[in-house]
Symmetry: D2
Subunit: 338 residues, 4 copies
């Protein structure tokens, strides 16, 4: 960590700063400049709070050199982490994992039928929302427990592991019992209480990126879960909020090489939520695989115009199958199965 | 609501769309263009889900004409809502309410002492964090219940109502019992489960704007709380996330006239979190009052460089008093007390 | 175009609005709602200025249904436009065009040498900056005319067409004479005077997307060039500005399917400027091809650490060759050559 | 400047880096960490190009400690710069300068008439567009030279200095002859060729902030003009681009205290373009003055609904006069005249 102090800081104040850090067991080197003095701190600076240091009136600026995360950091864990989701392995050089399913679970029949279509097309997990985060209190909020049980029935019928979003801590027992991959949605990426709670779960976590969160904050949210004891975290990029109006969000595919460089965890892409329009899902899916993503999560619905939510971004099953087929050829080029 | 359909949509499909909306009790007018046909829907369109309509493959675009909120909408509630926080009235032409206090509660003594300084300076409520949303799991997370009790002791000593952030539903009883104004933080603005829960509380809610949420989404989150039965919502702007690097966030003061035009609820400004730097707090406080804000929430700490969090943005008590004094003169110009 | 008027607008004012639009030859349909009245306009609304209509105090809102562009609009020009750059055809189902070269031209020897490496690796055009847009007035500003002549020498030696950025109208003659594909940089995307001038050139234009410009504004800038008479425009995405800090810009690959849906013009991707880091260039290049891009523009330098500008984002020639080889396999999957 | 190198960088490479910087006359201090080594450079680092240093494969990161600007930097020029615009002094503790006028000049009569209204209301300069940057090539592009002459006639009639936007270098002689304050628009803030040209002008420059430019880039654009010899630069904030949809742009008032802290130059605010809606102009104008701005630039039109451009954001003259009157009372509170 690098700390620069203001021009004219008295020597006594500089000494006080040095003593404080040395008292914390950190090594301190001072660089004397013409307009500023700069301190370099050596040691475990993840414990330091930048904002607190910045409160010193003689401090001009504070900059981290090393990353604020430890458990997620590739620097301290060179090998790729493979996350096992009820037998489906995600990450490293494993097959590209394609998760498909409806935005919202509407009934057991729907869940089972779409699960079969997803499986036949080559998908390896079933997604479906039972608890839905909706901007409007007047919109459909999901079937709740009934939806989770419908998903479980679909797993029963097909063998596909199931993925669903957990929105509050009071449903953790339900998810621990029934769900194979527990999704934390974009709007809860910094719901730190919830992160702490899922850190105690035995099930792997699918951590979506927040609408306007930096990659560093995203990794810090994974760090929360890992610090709680659950090291099975899969990142999921679903688009970020920008000024652009032709897409719902802006899909940021550069996160794929960056997450792989900075961390040892897997990352998958959700092109359906990112673009909000099924017409762009195929090209973004192929791009994601080409970029090195460990998987995709795609909305699939038999009859999108009648879907209870997000129909506009859902692929019909035959289109989903076509994406998987082309995706398989792309995966081969980058050395992966699908 | 205006729905445009694609060039070449068959007449039978147009008829099906018309019938569907008429079946929902909406009036439908069709505008026949050269490249598009457009439908106008008349009636209560808040029940419609834009994304579901957009899923129809013949639909090109969907645009709302009327706002998606009802209870918060000024159109249906012309008079200003005044929110009463344990006797302090906020909104309308009431005095500008200035809330002061530390970012984090550190001890009972600190809470009481700062409360007295805040009161003496002219502040009308005490703020203090007991549950802290922190990006890093390794950072100080707040004193929890102990902090809430310290705040209550400070209220006892000074008579100032207290404001604190609620981060999870399991603490609602505690907040219902002790806290006068329950803050929902920026990172939980779209934690819809929590919004539903606080919609059942009897205490007023201070709803901070999310880091990257539009004003419309913010009002929709107020609508969630109001739809639950709690109509005492105060908005709090605390800066949004942009590309700028010299401030922590970008304070968006234009929300003041907009919130007052679109809704009947009060709005206050938090210049401390918005800028992240105490040196900008005075000018942004005065600007907020000049823009018509109903209040301010400012971080105050006796010894910012030793604060347990966010010291860099805290004002010393004498500086806080100076802001209030100048603010009072500005308030007079815009026809308000302070 | 849809115009909504405020609640309580007098009938006489509604009539005046109707008459005004009918006087412009537009058809007007009125939809009478409970809280608003809405007008639908039918006819050529590209001539209307939304902001002027919004100035009417009885107007609540104005929304376009049809796009504001004509010449670039796929709706009126179904076939893909193929742009011919000195014999290299870009767009449609032509080969993916890979442009390589240094950020800045440093000497004739360098230009010729890198051109040969680019050609040997499978690149089809040479890029190189002679006029450099630099944030700091103290940074290297490019070799100017000398750099253009060096590029021309490299073309002479290799046969590769050359691409370079034009920053001001006073160099148009020079570019008309020497440069095969004239680049308009991100910072000049809305330099409308320059767009008008290049609209008169005979050479094709490579139009980079502005740092914070919407796709619609970008197409409108192409429309400027086309309205001037030059219909040979190639779009180039180079990343947009967001809150993210781990990349220089955020590469928005969803523009590929969108530009192809909305317009008939080719689009290429510049992963070097988008990411600002050579380590992410390969994965973003492969993703771009998989998404359907018509080409790539990649920075190549023999000795990046000694480059006069932007070395951090330059690939070494052998790495560039590897990208082309993998890219060729990806191109095949999406039905293209390279 | 602080440079961190990767774990495992060979000692010989570290030595080479040290020698290179020492060869440039910079002092180098090395801080040896466990995972990184860090160099601190002391001396004039404005000459260094961060991107070039980052190209060294052993370099992990480069961070500036000191600002990249010199002439605009308050550190080297403590006193406020007062810019004299044909006798109207802007900056320091001078009166708050209120500039008013139409978005576009429509005729000599209009220019003279509005100039008189602006003057009578208490405005001290007249603004008016003769060359208009328009997103659409089909929109009104301004009267050109005729508009400039109309402005000059209005100055003749009222004595008010005139402000107008220069869009291209070929009009510099015209602006040098007729215009008192030469505006560089947001879309040209990084048109570096134009900045160089106006750096040679004798007239003061009003430099608008770009749509998505950081404060640092904005100051660097001022630095371009100053490096060319023209030190009379006034900054003008006009809103930045964000995700928000209820305003055209997001007005960032925190720039006022920041520009005053980082530079010695004046700053004014344009609330009309920032909000795009006349209903928000008064509150943002008062907020701007309260924040310490040196002036305002407000659009004024007698008949906004008939304005040739941007009517929606224009104030009627009586409203403009009311803003000035309230603004004067606010100015008094912050120790300024108006």
């Amino acid at each position: 960590m690098i700390i620069s102090t203001k021009r004219g800081t008295p020597a006594a104040e500089l000494d006080k700063i040095i003593q404080e850090f040395e008292g914390m067991g950190l090594g301190v080197t001072i660089i004397r400049g013409t307009d500023y003095n700069v301190f370099g701190l050596v040691g475990d600076t993840t414990i330091l709070d930048e904002k607190r240091i910045r409160a010193n009136p003689y401090v001009e600026n504070v900059q981290r050199v090393s990353e604020p995360y430890k458990k997620a950091n590739r620097l301290f864990h060179e090998a790729d982490t493979i996350v096992d989701v009820a037998g489906v392995r995600v990450g490293g050089t494993e097959k590209v994992a394609v998760i498909g399913g409806p935005c919202s679970i509407e009934s057991k029949e729907q869940a089972v039928r779409i699960a079969q279509l997803v499986k036949n097309a080559g998908g390896c997990m079933l997604r479906g929302g039972a608890y839905k985060p909706r901007t409007s209190p007047y919109a459909f909020q999901g079937l709740g427990t009934e939806g989770i049980l419908d998903l479980a029935a679909a797993r029963e019928a097909t063998g596909l592991p199931i993925v669903s979003e957990l929105m509050s801590a009071d449903k953790i027992d339900e998810f621990e019992q029934y769900v194979d991959l527990v999704q934390i949605g974009a709007r809860n990426m910094q719901n730190f209480q919830l992160l702490k709670e899922v850190g105690k779960m035995s099930k792997p976590i699918l951590l979506k990126r927040g609408l306007a969160n930096t990659i560093e904050e995203w990794i810090m949210s994974a760090e929360y879960i890992m610090a709680g004891g659950n090291e099975n975290v899969i990142f999921c990029e679903r688009g970020i909020r920008t000024f652009e109006k032709y897409t719902r969000n802006t899909l940021d595919l550069s996160v794929v090489p960056i997450i792989k460089q900075k961390t040892h965890l897997p990352i998958i892409i959700d092109p359906s939520h990112a673009t909000g329009d099924w017409r762009y899902v195929e090209s973004m899916s192929l791009a994601a695989i080409a970029s090195g993503a460990d998987g995709l999560m795609i909305e699939v619905h038999e009859n999108p115009e009648a879907a209870w939510s997000d129909g506009a971004q859902s692929l019909k099953p035959e289109k989903f199958a076509a994406v998987i087929e082309k995706g398989r050829a792309i995966a081969r080029v980058v050395g992966r199965g699908l």
